[in-house]
Symmetry: C2
DNA sequence: CCGTAGCCGATGATCGATCATTGCTCAAAT
DNA sequence: ATTTGAGCAATGATCGATCATCGGCTACGG
């Protein structure tokens, strides 16, 4: 289960690299979730998706199980899949785990990046631009990319995998939709992280942990 | 995917609670792994298991994907499932993530347990007994149970789930087998944790983190 | 002898159909 | 009116079969 799905579905052109069917299904359902096709608590019916995409039940099942790993849906035996209810408390639970992982990630990443923060600064710029333009979605996307870059730099595949499983990007987009979460104007917090990484701040771990935890305090309802 | 499978397969008696087939398969494969049926790197063939258990391919697939989530096997598209190679480095990766999660878990669990450490002391006693009796397996099992109790007391379902996905018990048993890992005589380290929990030691987090990380330094080859 | 294209069996991926459970409907009994 | 349980439709779980891909083997050309 390689979580990121790089480019679009193969409807356009047959790519050199054949993508397993269940990945397309996963992408489709994920888009449906973010686009608001289902509300929290709604049932996601395997056969319905299967018919809709003209595939059989099997790849749909597999895709839904993957989404279950990402905590986006819940799954009870013989009861099917439902969109996970996203309460503030549960969001906080996710952020707590995320903070624990990213704290460790940044501590590992710091010496490995060795001040090579170009990618981070790129995303930071994009966030600033998005902030002044009021492009909420872009700001969220680059914010996630910023954190992803750090996590992927940590060099620990297990940690990376667990972080991916947190489905940070999807949850961020969903919380924007479901909870009307407000994006903190946090470009400066990120600047602080970049600074810390550039010169190996010994408190980077704590900094990151607090930074991520802050996210869970930014909802207005 | 509820990771723990409480009691044995239903061959004995039809339990009131019907267990999904793929859980039996998962249990079967897991036992096979621990029992040494496969070595690291070996291929696990879906149809073989299916025939062996007189089930179809579908539940086997599902079980294997669950084991993939637990990092016990790797899975490449169109290439099938292989038993994950367990190098010291990878073991360290797992322990690092585990340490990050348990650090946070114990910090959350401490106020919730409120000095209620009876369960922990039970496992601690069992570990001591196992140590003097030289019962390696029992010591490992109770050691894992000790940590599991703390993690489950943290009250964060997301954290609990990720910890379960680390497959701590399976990895512990497997590293005993594959890497001839030596069990540190660590009853006293655990005693320290119990003490800390009993009186809300503010350094519990760091204590736990170091405690878990120490595990990854206990291999002799 | 070595490299390479093509054949072929093994096996993962997917399919369409069937079995079994769940939740609902609705009417009879209280 | 409420309860209760049989009947039924929906749907998840599982099955057996087929399709597609991978890896090894072999024959051929150099």
């Amino acid at each position: 289960m390689s979580v990121p799905l790089p480019t679009g579905p193969p409807g356009g052109g047959p790519s050199l690299e054949r993508v397993p069917l269940h990945e397309h299904v996963r992408h489709f359902v994920l888009e449906g979730l973010v686009a608001g096709r289902w509300e929290p608590g709604d049932r996601i019916v395997e056969r319905r998706i299967a018919q809709e995409l003209a595939v059989s039940q099997a790849p749909v099942r597999e895709a839904l199980r993957e989404l279950e790993t990402m905590e986006l849906v819940t799954c009870a035996p013989n009861k099917g899949v439902r969109v996970r209810e996203l309460t503030l408390g549960q969001l906080r639970d996710v952020y707590l785990v995320r903070a624990a992982l990213e704290r460790r990630a940044v501590m590992l990443a710091a010496p490995r990046m060795a001040g090579n923060v170009a990618t981070l600064e790129h995303h930071l710029d994009a966030m600033r631009r998005a902030a002044v333009e009021g492009d909420i979605d872009s700001q969220a996307l680059h914010g996630v990319a910023f954190h992803r870059a750090i996590v992927h730099a940590c060099g620990n595949p297990v940690l990376i995998r667990h972080w991916d499983w947190l489905g940070v990007e999807a949850w961020t987009r969903l919380s924007l939709r479901w909870l009307r979460t407000e994006l903190h104007d946090n470009a400066e917090d990120h600047e602080e992280l970049v600074e810390g990484l550039r010169r190996g701040d010994p408190h980077l771990g704590r900094l990151m942990e607090l930074h991520v935890m802050d996210y869970s305090n930014e909802s207005r309802t």
